[in-house]
Structure formats: C-alpha cells, structure tokens
Subunit: 363 residues, 2 copies
C-alpha cells in the first residue's frame, strides 16, 4: 500500500472543524500520513474530503467503526464531542489503535481512567490534543522556568483564555450543550489554562482549588465563564495560580509566570499570533531606579522560530512514540496520559468547587 513507508497511518473519526486543522498537521508531519476519515454518514465524510482537498488515496468511511476496525490504521484521532470520548477511545484502543484525542479528554476523571486503562492494557500510546505543549517556544520557556538563576521559585501564575462567542455559537455549538461538550468553557479554554498551571509547576498537583463566584452558566447549566484560584502549599501559599476562561469577551490567551527573580509573559500561549514564529517577554530582577521614577529593566522580547506548526509537531511527537512502540518495543510514554489525567483532575475540582458554592476542594 505504500503508507507504511510514508509513516504512521492516521484515521480521523468525526468531521469537526478541528479535524481540518489536525488533518493538515498529519500531512505536514514527516512521520505520519492521513489514511482514513470516517463520519456517521458517507456523504459527510466525502464532503469533508472534498472541502479539504484530501488525497484520493484517503479512505472514506460512513461510520466510525470502519475506521477503528481497519487493520491498516495505526492511530485514531478523535475530535468527537466529549460525551462520546470514552466509547470511541476505548473502542480504538481495544482495536490496538493509538489514541490522539481532543481535549477535554472525558466528562470526568472516572471516564478518563477507562480510556487510559484501555490504552495501557492494549499497549497503545495516549495523548491529548494540547498543541501548545509541542511548540518550541513552550520547550524553551520550560528550560527557563527551571533555571533557578532566572526565575527563582515560582510564586504566581496567571493564565487566561477567552473568546467572544457569536450568538450562533452560544445557541448551537457543541461546547454549550450539556449532552455534548458538557464541560463548557472549563473543558474547552480552561483546559489550556489548567494545563499551563500544571506545566509551570512541573506537573505537581496543587493543594487546593477554589472556584471564584463569577461563574456564568447558560440555561442548561453549561459554564460559559468562570475563574479559579489554584493554590500550592497551605496554610501559607508557596505558589498561587489564578485562571480565568470565558466565551464572553475578546480573544485573549495570557500566561504570566512570576518567580522571586523574574517574570515570563505570553499573550498568545495557546495559538501563537503567527504560525512559524512566536515570542515571549522576560523580565529579570526588575526593580525601580532611584526615586522610583522608572524601572532598571524593560521586558526583553525573545523570538522563537518554528519549522512546523505546533499541531504538526504534536503529531510528529505522537508518531515518534508509536514508532518506538512498534519498531523498538518501547512501552507507551506514560508522560502524556499523566498530563491529561492531572489536567482532568483540575477540571473536575473546579466543577466540584462550583457545585459546592465555591468552597475549596483539597487534593
């Protein structure tokens, strides 16, 4: 068939918008190839293939089952509504397909455990679709974060992800439907913020998570906007993170990490302003000059180039791990399921805190 030489063969189940982006990434990534696309109707799958100019060699299926059962498919990308993740991720893993799944990974931690158990028992790799973790900027900053001479102890993390949803989105998007992506903005934009907090703390779990009182829900109880405090250490906070996510204001994606000795700032941490270059700002040892009429330093801008879009780097890393498993009998990398597990735990904690009337939830 030729695809083996071309790389890891991906099947996509579902024709969500995000599938267009990841489909392109699969084609851009050197080690992977888009092998099959499946929708609940053959018609929709064909439309998707046409609209996105997919190669004629791509198999078009009128069901998800055909994709996950196709013996030539190595890995399945799952952009389906969160409520059906557990069903299709478990089916894919049971068919020995590696699982790349959109965030939020599941409706709650218990569902995610079912997925992770299926992946583990079938020896397949699991990864969620947090693309920004694969950008070279993210990797560069991570090095700086843990260089004690630069940032020092991380004291404060601030993270936001907002976008202004259209009236149509607020009416019809799956992210505002309780029975589809019922985690609303927390599972969608909040996922990135919570992931960023964990990332900045090297995946240490916090001591407590407290939702703030500004929660806004739609008439079906789906969260459209909310904030949370995520605290490490108690009674005295070693680090505190504040996150805010909302479908109700202008697009923003700010990440600030402040240590004793320095501050990192990004304005576009989830999706860089431009595809092949991204920047961040860094201030070290900031203080005021004599008489406090100015600062000793201004934020320094650091530019990081990227050869491939971050989503293609994500696919490439996923394909690399699959190669290790299939060609070298390496075990699946436990890092990625662990990142998803902890992020999902924070999502669950925010929901629990909101349910309890914004009381703290302890880990």
């Amino acid at each position: 068939m030729g695809e083996t030489e071309a790389g890891i063969r991906f099947g996509i189940i579902g024709c969500a918008n995000i599938a267009r982006k990841v489909g392109r990434a699969i084609n851009l990534a050197p080690s992977s190839v888009l092998y099959a696309i499946g929708s609940r109707s053959l018609e929709k799958a064909k439309q998707f293939a046409d609209a996105n100019g997919l190669a004629e060699s791509v198999k078009i299926y009128g069901s998800y089952d055909e994709v996950v059962q196709d013996p030539s498919v190595d890995a399945v990308y799952i952009p389906l509504p969160t409520s059906v993740h557990v069903e299709w991720a478990v089916k894919a893993a049971s068919n020995k397909k590696h699982v790349l799944i959109e965030k939020p990974t599941a409706m709650d931690g218990a569902q995610l455990e079912l997925i992770l158990e299926a992946c583990q028992s079938n020896g397949v790799q699991f990864m969620d679709g947090s693309m920004w973790l694969h950008h070279p900027r993210t990797l560069k900053i991570k090095d700086m974060l843990f260089d004690s001479k630069l940032l020092g102890d991380v004291k404060y993390i601030y993270c936001t992800s907002t976008l202004l949803a259209s009236p149509e989105f607020l009416e019809n998007d799956i992210r505002v439907k309780a029975e589809l992506d019922g985690l609303g903005v927390v599972g969608d934009l909040g996922w990135y913020c919570l992931g960023a907090v964990l990332w900045a703390k090297n995946y240490e779990l916090p001591t407590l998570v407290t939702a703030l009182p500004d929660v806004i829900k739609n008439s079906n109880g789906v969260i459209l906007s909310c904030s949370a405090s995520i605290q490490y250490g108690q009674p005295s906070a070693e680090t505190v993170a504040i996150v805010h996510c909302s479908f109700l204001s202008n697009t923003s994606m700010d990440l600030t990490v402040t240590g004793c000795g320095g501050t990192l700032n990004l304005r576009d941490f989830i999706i860089p302003f431009q595809e092949n270059t991204a920047s961040f700002e860094f201030t070290k040892g900031a203080k005021f000059v004599e008489l406090h009429v100015g600062w000793n330093v201004k934020p320094e801008q650091v530019v990081v180039e990227s050869q491939l879009p971050q989503e293609a780097l994500m696919v490439e890393e996923f394909a690399r791990l699959i190669r290790g498993i299939t060609e070298s009998a390496f075990p699946p990398d436990p890092k990625w399921p662990e990142i998803s597990r902890k992020t999902q735990m924070l999502v669950d904690a925010i929901n629990k805190s909101i349910h309890l009337g914004c009381k703290p939830v302890y880990f």
Copy 2:
C-alpha cells in the same frame, strides 16, 4: 516672600523616601513650590534638606506642628505611616491647609471619613498620592475605555502589583508593621490595583468582593501577599476583576481590561518603565484566522509622551484645584475624595473577607 507668585506653597511632614520623589515633583510642577519640610527632629529635617539639595529658602522645622501651623503654607503633603494619617490630616485641614496624602489614606473607611469631613468643613482640597491617575497615558486609555466601538462592555479586569521585598524590608519596613502601615501589601500595592478596577469601571462600586485563600501574613498578622475577586452584578457577573498583590515576587504591574470587542494591556501601569514616555497595547476584534493557525490581529503598541513626570502632573492638578478655590472661590473638587473613599472601601472589604475566612463581602 516671593513664594506667592511662585505658586502654591507646600509643606511636607515626614522624611519618608516617597517625600523625596514628591518634593522633586513639587519643584517640577509649574504652579507649586516647596516651602517647608518638617520632621520630628530638626536634625532629620536638615539631613533630608541637605541630601536632596533643597533650596536654602525652604523652611526646616523640627516638628510637624510647625509646618501645619505656618500661615504661609497652603498645602501639606503627608507621607507619614498610615496609622497617624487621621491625626495629621485633620490637623492640617483644621489649619486650612489643603491635604495631599499618601496611600493608603487611612487604616479604614471610618478614619478616612474623619479626614474627609475635616477637609470638607474647612473648605480644603483632598487628594491621595495615586500618581498614575495623572499620567497622560491613563487619560488616553480612559477615553478608549468608554468608547463603545473600541472595547465594548468591560467583562474582565486583571490587575497585579508585586515586588520582591528584601529581608531587611520584611523585617523593618513600616509596611510590614501592624502599628505603622498595618494594611500591609493591600494598602500599599493593592491600593493601586483596587484603584485601577474602580477607574476601569468609572468608579462604580462592585456588588461583592471575595478574598482568595492564598493570603500570606507575617508573624504580626500583616498581609504580605493576597488576591481577590471583585464582582459587578449577581448572580450573573457583568464584570469580574481579579487582583493580586504581593511583597514576595519579582516586580510586576500588569493591568488588563478586556471588553467584548477589545483588550487593553499595560505592564507598568503604576510606574512607567521610563519617565517621559509610556506605552500600552491594544487588541481590537481579535479572532483566529482560517483553521485557527494564527490571529487576525497582533497587539498594537500605542506610545504616549509625557512632558512632566506623573507625580509632577499630580501636584500640578492639585495646585490647579487650590488656585480655583483661593482665587475663584470654587468649591473643592469632590472627585478626588470620592476616588479615595471608594478605594478605601475596597481595601476594607478585602480585609473583612479575609477576616471572615474568604467569604464574599457585599456592597
């Protein structure tokens, strides 16, 4: 004496560091002149005058009383510890001196009312030392904030002020002493953040204020670091503001105001990086391009020049109002006491919320 022609004659009581900055500002402002400086000892006042190269014409007093009783003094600048503000501000007002006072204005709202009543009944102008409100950048942004075509409804405000206090500061500074500036970081850095929230909401009072659980106090119960949520509207938040202030991390002064249609960002809102030029960033109608591989806009940087430092502009505005009172029999401008009163109310609310175990405090 000549000073009448030279402008409004200021007396300073207390030789705090900040008095050096404001003393310089008084000399820089066209309509004012530094007339007298008083300390609790003549020796200290002389040292201050020498160290700061004050003109020989400046009167040197060995007590605060001599300054506030000097009939040639028009206005008194009070940089004393907060705990003695009420005593000296009331004395100054009772002696018909206009009152420019460092923030926090008082230990609580009740004390501030005593000061404001004394100012009102004596017909003198009151203003607190929030210099940033007088910067032309602040005025420019204010115009943008209320241009509905630019920012739209303000949904989210984020504000932080942090600095890394030295071990000596944490041991000896008046801002960590319960009996001196007992409001700690909330009264010091927090004052600016709370003032910025009110400013961005055109001095509307919020519905509720909730301290977050990350409060850090020293062994005397003085707050060194804390955060709060400030919410407008309930049950559904129209606007939410999150503030964070700390003596325990690298210097930062971020202010973000996000509306439905745009976002304003400042990194140095309290003290601009440089004295005579300042900038801010603005994003309007941000959204993602096709496939979500980038943004349609990048933040636009807007530069604002300032002829005089913001503290000199503050003094100039204060002097202008005094001129209106003395030369044109205008009443004192009620705007400035009102700004201080509302800011102090938010300080009090945060303290109350912390005292109640981070329960919401309603207005």
